[in-house]
């Protein structure tokens, strides 16, 4: 059944039609109940025994819920009734022995969890798990402000890990069913996966082949496709009200950039290293000066990949959540509706940013792979 003869236009129309589904009506959160992890940059959590009721700290908690990682998957909380919608995630700790327990033992940070005789508590300032005594007290060093308790190795399944698994499973099932549909339908895709065929062909024809070349592009296609759709799906997950912020997390983007770095340098041929250390076509004294700079470039390029994706997504989320919070600060007709309009438009921009950042990451990775497998061009007039 042909849905549309102009698939790209149809895809764009479908995306715009789905925008009303991404509404952001969240109940205000009580910051004393919110679990947080890995505090970044501007967002700091204020957890007190007394429950803060003013709007600003509630908004801070709301923003924190969206951009910080957490040991339990919180959908929403009702302040008045204190009811909590969400589910706890397993905590896996290595502390001279494997401790596995549910994060519900932490009771949203109020109590210390007991496991095999050891007690663990979540530090409210940085959201990390420390080994404590039975009272769950975390002793802070007076001078540095850092906790003095021992920190076990934390391998927990946190919210971000769940989102990565979800994205991976989604990709696996979508693309395996798309691939199978080719066999069943004689070379033409059928089913929902048809949306991705033009994207895959685009990545092959506009990103992989122009940058890597006809001879070698097939080796890198699987990686390029994987990171494109992985980053795209994680970015789109981040736009939902579930509070998932995977690509706005420095460790995730670091891992992706490390993969690009390793693949570039481990599959590079002699010309790549030649262009870095002993570049042809450049007078010899210049080569000695340029070599350290080029070597630095080898590390800075993946570093910039990491920072670019992280900063774009993280900053976008912070700004979007803050403007949504602005709706509650302006308790007036005009202020709140303007904030709502602005946040709506900004979310549309965030969808564009989601696609763009996935595209840029993939394109730059393809560019680096291309430079790694480039054949030797004989320069005219250059003396080797």
């Amino acid at each position: 059944m042909v849905i549309s003869n102009k698939p790209l236009r149809f895809i764009l129309a479908a995306l715009v039609a789905c925008l009303p589904l991404m509404s952001f009506s969240n109940t205000e959160k009580d910051s004393a109940h919110v679990q947080t992890e890995e505090a970044h940059g501007a967002v700091s959590e204020g957890h007190h025994a007394a429950e803060p009721t003013d709007v600003k700290s509630k908004i801070k908690a709301f923003v924190g819920h969206h951009v910080l990682d957490s040991h339990d998957f919180t959908f929403t909380q009702d302040d008045e009734t204190g009811k909590y919608y969400g589910f706890p995630l397993p905590v896996i700790i290595w502390d001279n022995g494997l401790h596995i327990f549910s994060s519900s033992k932490f009771n949203h940070g109020h109590t210390a969890a007991e496991s095999k005789g050891n007690y663990y508590a979540i530090n409210h300032h940085d959201g990390k798990i420390y080994r404590t005594d039975a009272s769950g007290e975390i002793i802070e060093n007076e001078k540095t402000g850092h906790p003095e308790n021992v920190r076990p190795l934390d391998f927990s399944i946190t919210k971000t890990v769940v989102s990565i698994f979800a994205a991976a499973l989604l990709m696996f099932f979508l693309f395996s069913s798309l691939a199978k549909s080719y066999a069943k339908n004689g070379g033409i895709a059928s089913g929902v996966g048809r949306i991705f065929e033009p994207l895959v062909v685009y990545i092959r024809d506009e990103i992989a082949i122009p940058n890597i070349g006809e001879k070698h592009y097939r080796k890198y296609m699987s990686y390029l496709l994987t990171i494109f759709f992985f980053i795209l799906f994680l970015n789109i997950f981040g736009l939902t009200p579930l509070g998932i912020n995977a690509t706005g997390n420095l460790t995730i983007t670091f891992s992706l950039a490390i993969l690009t770095f390793l693949i570039t340098n481990l599959t590079a041929n002699k010309n790549y290293w030649g262009h870095i250390f002993w570049m042809p076509g450049v007078p010899k004294p210049m080569r000695i000066i340029l070599a350290p700079i080029e070597l630095l470039g080898v590390f800075i390029k993946p570093f910039s990949l990491m920072i670019r994706l992280y900063a774009n997504i993280f900053a976008g989320h912070i700004v979007l959540m803050s403007i949504i919070g602005l709706m509650f600060i302006f308790k007036s007709w005009i202020g709140s509706s303007l904030s709502f309009g602005l946040s709506f438009v900004l979310s549309i921009l965030e969808i564009l940013v989601a696609f763009l950042q996935a595209y840029i990451f993939t394109m730059l990775s393809a560019l680096y792979f291309g430079s790694a497998v480039e054949e030797h061009h004989h320069e005219e007039g250059a003396h080797h």
């Binding site: 940059g41 506009e206 910039s304 920072i307 670019r308 900063a311 774009n312 900053a315 763009l356 950042q357 595209y359 840029i360 394109m363 730059l364």
Partner: protein, 63 residues
């Protein structure tokens, strides 16, 4: 007297906006001269804009 961080952030934004504005401008000129190449020009423009934004964001986070 210490210059506050926010002034640095403002300068970064000015720099990034100038850079991307120039790229956008020359992309418009190029598309006007040769509309058939608009796809390639758009792609190149987006890549250059993303690179500049990358520096801009990294610097913003450092400030």
């Amino acid at each position: 007297m210490e210059i506050p961080n926010i002034v640095g952030a403002g300068l970064i934004v000015i720099g990034a906006a100038l850079g991307i504005g120039r790229i956008g401008g020359s992309a418009m000129d190029a598309i006007a001269r040769q509309p058939e190449a608009s796809g390639k020009i758009q792609t190149a423009m987006l890549i250059a804009a993303a690179l500049i934004e990358g520096i801009g964001f990294a610097a913003l986070f450092a400030s």
